[in-house]
Amino acid sequence: MRLVIEVWRQDTPADSGRYETHTVDDATPEMSVLELLDRLNDQLVEEGLEPVAFESDCREGICGACGVTVDGSPHGPQRNTPSCHQRLAGYADGQRIRLEPLRSAAFPVIRDLVVDRSALDRIITAGGHVAIAAGTAPDADSLLVPHERAERALDMAACIGCGACVAACPNGAAHLFVGSKLTHLSLLPTGRQQRGKRARAMLFEMEQDFGPCSLYGECSRVCPANIPLTAIAAVNKEGLRSFFRHKDD
């Protein structure tokens, strides 16, 4: 199958960037978006041209490194699927496909399709971790966590930090990402001890780069970890709780 690829090219962060058009003649429906880029890059290298820079690592949906915007949709047109798993089955011979970076003012383009997602790292550094002396490993069953709670914490811990939720948001908000971390850590015994402090620190950091949530719901449509929209409410819940409680936990 022949695909006409419009791909974003930008040599440096300071560059204004532009779309370049290339054709790949031997794309197949089972190829992923990243494999299409691999194919395109082989071609470009053969022609002596600079390959398109893009990020990927695991290619099995667990690392969060990949993430390109396909035809306006972060990660790609299939819902809740990372770029490395987005197949080309929906494309017909001769169709156009537009590839651009994840778009957000908080994610400056480093080069071509690679963006700087350190704004998310800064939020994690601020509070998205457990920083208490937990002591030696406790005896089994000495710290009981109800099954349902453990399941909920795990569901929220599934976020792979890809940043697609931010790029999907017309406001450039990071609520799904922040809410998933806040919920996950607030549900477990060690994380809970810093619940209030964490919320204050993460929200303080978040406010400097990301926008407000207007509940468009775009984020949870693209999230490859299936984080539900409920995570968004956790941002204000933890914010209000830490504000009124005024304690570290």
Partner: protein, 266 residues
Amino acid sequence: MASARTTAGQVSGAAGPLLPGADDSALELGSVRAGRVRRPPVLPSWVLKVVMAVSGIVFALYVLVHMIGNLKVFTGVDHFNEYAHWLRTVLQPFLPYEGLLWIVRAVLLGCLVAHVGAAAVLWSRGRKSRGAHRHKGLGLRNFTARTMLVTGIVLLGFVVFHVLDLTTGTAGAASASFRPATVDQAHAYENLVASFQRPVAAAFYLVAMIALFLHLAHGLWTVVSDLGATGRRLRAVGYAVAGAVALAVMLGNIIIPISVLSGLLS
């Protein structure tokens, strides 16, 4: 790493501190800009959303009560005018004439300033954080969310017109036969009917009620998240209540101009 503020969206050499040779070495480091989109805001966006939610609830309760009051128009001229008069004299002598009305007006005005102010700040922050490449092609799926600002502005325009038409009776907005309420008597019924007998006024009212429905349906659902409701059942109830209140307010109010235009009320 140098840190300075940058202009959101445009990452240019002049706007932000780029690492030297940001192209290749940055590809390895994965970091090209230490600056933030904005300085830590005095009023964080999540707090402003709580302000919007609280003022939005006040508006929603007000329009709900107001709609129920409006339906008294179907109980006849005298009854409706007595109700309007009662609103002005209720709680006398503890409150002066129109005391309750002025308290409600003050609360609503305060909420309006807070609501519109917060909306403006949040809108501009959202644009800044999104940057130069807007999200396009959203289709109809979040139509109500995307039109909040538009429906809000329609509502603002309507509120101004509505006060000039039926409260102050200002010429231009009010019908020619407008009679202000006196200490002894209100003429709310006659004023209302005369106003709606003008098709343009009735049409604007209709448009405003549709805008109110769209604004409330999404707005009240947003309130659920903004006030931090994460429970599954609570959120389901919130979703249903948002839709029901929005629909009830719109339908309850819309019957009135329709009844006037069709001659049911005169």
